[in-house]
Amino acid sequence: MEEKIMVEGIDLQELMVNWSNHLLYLWDTRHMIFKRFHVLHMSRTALEAAAWGEAYKPGSHELLTDIKAATYHNLLIEKHAGVWTAEILLDI
């Protein structure tokens, strides 16, 4: 199942948090789980991506814990030698 996702944010931090929380929203309301993503367009304030995954199936997926939200707590987004790294804390 493919899902087009578009999020906006006033800066990279907000973009990262909004992206993560959008995935949580899709989980909570449609029980969708994604494992492959392709970024189509990205700027410092907008992100458009395609995500592939499937609906939750109790026999095949193991759920560990609910995530309440992605937070700004100690949020880290860095670019080193052309590679982006992000560290994001989830409230569970």
Binding site: T29, L64, Y72
Partner: protein, 481 residues
């Protein structure tokens, strides 16, 4: 932060002197033992950050179960001025009106000691718990969801889940005024539609307990508690509905921070003046989530009572179930407190803290008014939980607030590491505690060692005169998400 940075007020209270951008000093309720753990994380720095909030009054406070949170420390209490102060969604938390309710029964331990397994199994089968749980009651219509937002527990009672007596024994009677569904996003509404009557996962639980010790006979009697009596406790909140409202308003307020010239040390502390449109909108949306959470716990309590009756083959008269009280421990409320010698309406943020109002206070239920408000303090699933009672000292020192639990000691990751190679459910069973959980790792994350010693935490509040011990309950059966 180190011990030398703190000023000792007395054995159970330490002060962080006002410095830098702090508008008021910080005050931490803890004894020397607990302080060692508290100083090992960054929660004291968060107490300092909260002290920078515009309009904060008297002190930025922290209870003995405090630990590192998001923006506010968990266990944090802050009151802000209605005119010059702010409201901060981080001071309430993602799980708006996460709270706890205690139900007493007429049963004694002897009546059910051989039936505990049946009771726990029945609860586990009948109360939806775990990640993505749903289905306790039919999915709400949009109109029904709005009624829940506005009426809270009263909606549940009107629809057959409980009685008027339950409302009388719930903080705010289970309905916070000022709720306005127009201030709730479509996304939050969508997340709430099929989550009412569900426990959730993480640290949420339903626990069957036996009253192990009574510390104050008169107060215990008023609360309907007796030694060896069976009680059960429900810990849950506003589920995805509340999480989404918090996230929505954190975003709105981080966008408007510059408009109000706020320069905050942490983005999670995003806030808006109480008198601003953003501040008022958040309060109206937060009240919707608070009401959702009360209805949620009300429904789960009603279903749990029916489930236990069926499991034991007894009727309502024999079980004698009655709600002792329901408290919220993630909330912001308008309350009257003594400020500079005069009574003043303020906004009290309780982020992981329980209201602890004294005898005689008009907001304490009528039948408890001569003794004070029950303060419910759930511990970890291996040790104990407590009922304490609010005091006048709490009104004077902590804006009528006390601790809300044991407080985490190990991170969830740390707990999983410590539990490796161990069968936590077996260890608990050996102690006479039957535990069932949906998530494989939940039991490891939530094992007793992951928490501070509840006895020590409650004792600090007792010795400081904030909330006096009434009864201690030992867990005998637990369901978790």
């Amino acid at each position: 932060m180190e011990l030398k940075d703190l000023k000792k007020i007395h054995d159970n209270l330490y002060e962080i002197p006002r410095q830098g951008e702090m508008r008021v000093p910080g005050r931490i309720y803890a004894n020397a033992g607990l302080l060692k753990d508290i100083l090992s994380d960054k929660s004291p720095e968060q107490v300092m950050n909260v002290a920078t909030l515009p309009g904060i009054l008297k002190y930025s406070l922290a209870m003995p179960d405090m630990h590192w949170g998001y923006g506010f420390p968990i266990g944090g209490v802050a009151a802000t001025d209605m005119e010059t102060g702010v409201i901060s969604p981080g001071g309430v938390g993602y799980d708006i009106n996460c709270g706890c309710r205690l139900v007493r029964t007429s049963l004694s331990y002897g009546d059910i000691k051989n039936r505990i397994h049946d009771m726990v199994t029945s609860l586990f089968q009948n109360i939806p718990c775990g990640v993505g749980s749903h289905g306790a009651i039919p999915k709400l219509t949009r109109t029904e969801e709005e009624m829940v937002m506005v009426h809270g527990s009263a909606w549940a009672v009107k629809n057959g889940f409980g009685t008027q007596d339950d409302l009388d024994h719930t903080e705010e009677s289970g309905c916070m005024s000022g709720a306005n569904p127009d201030k709730v996003s479509d996304r939050a509404r969508e997340r709430g539609l099929n989550q009412l009557g569900t426990l959730g996962s993480g640290n949420h639980f339903i626990e069957i307990q036996v009253v192990e010790q009574i510390f104050d006979d008169t107060v215990a009697q008023a609360f309907g508690l007796f030694e060896n009596g069976i009680t059960f406790m429900i810990h849950s909140g506003s589920r995805g509905f509340g999480y989404q409202i918090c996230d929505d308003y954190l975003k709105i307020m981080s966008h408007t921070a510059s408009k109000y010239h706020f320069n905050l040390p942490d983005r999670q502390l995003a806030c808006a003046p109480l008198s601003s449109p953003e501040g008022k909108d958040y309060m109206a949306a937060m009240a919707c989530a608070a009401n959702f959470a009360w209805a949620n716990r009300q429904i789960m309590m009603h279903l749990s009572i029916g489930t236990l009756q069926k499991a034991l083959g007894i009727g309502p008269r024999e079980i004698g179930a009655r709600l002792v009280y329901d408290v919220c421990h993630n909330i912001a409320k308008f309350e009257e407190h003594q400020i500079n010698g005069g009574k003043q309406k303020v906004c009290v943020h309780r982020k992981g803290a329980t209201r602890a109002f004294p005898p005689g206070h008009p907001l304490v239920p009528k039948d408890y008014r001569h003794v004070g408000q029950p303060v419910l303090i759930p511990g970890d699933m291996g040790r104990a939980s407590y009922v304490s009672v609010g005091t006048e000292t709490a009104m004077q020192q902590t804006f009528g607030s006390s601790c809300h639990g044991a407080g985490r000691l190990l991170s969830r990751h740390g707990a999983i590491k410590a539990a490796r190679g161990r069968a936590i459910y077996r260890e608990l069973e050996d102690q006479g505690i039957i535990v069932m959980s949906r998530g494989k790792k939940t039991l490891s994350e939530e094992m007793p060692e992951a928490y501070k010693d509840i006895h020590n935490v409650v004792q600090v509040m007792h010795d400081a005169g904030i909330a006096m011990k009434v009864a201690r309950m030992r867990p005998i059966g637990v369901i978790k998400g």
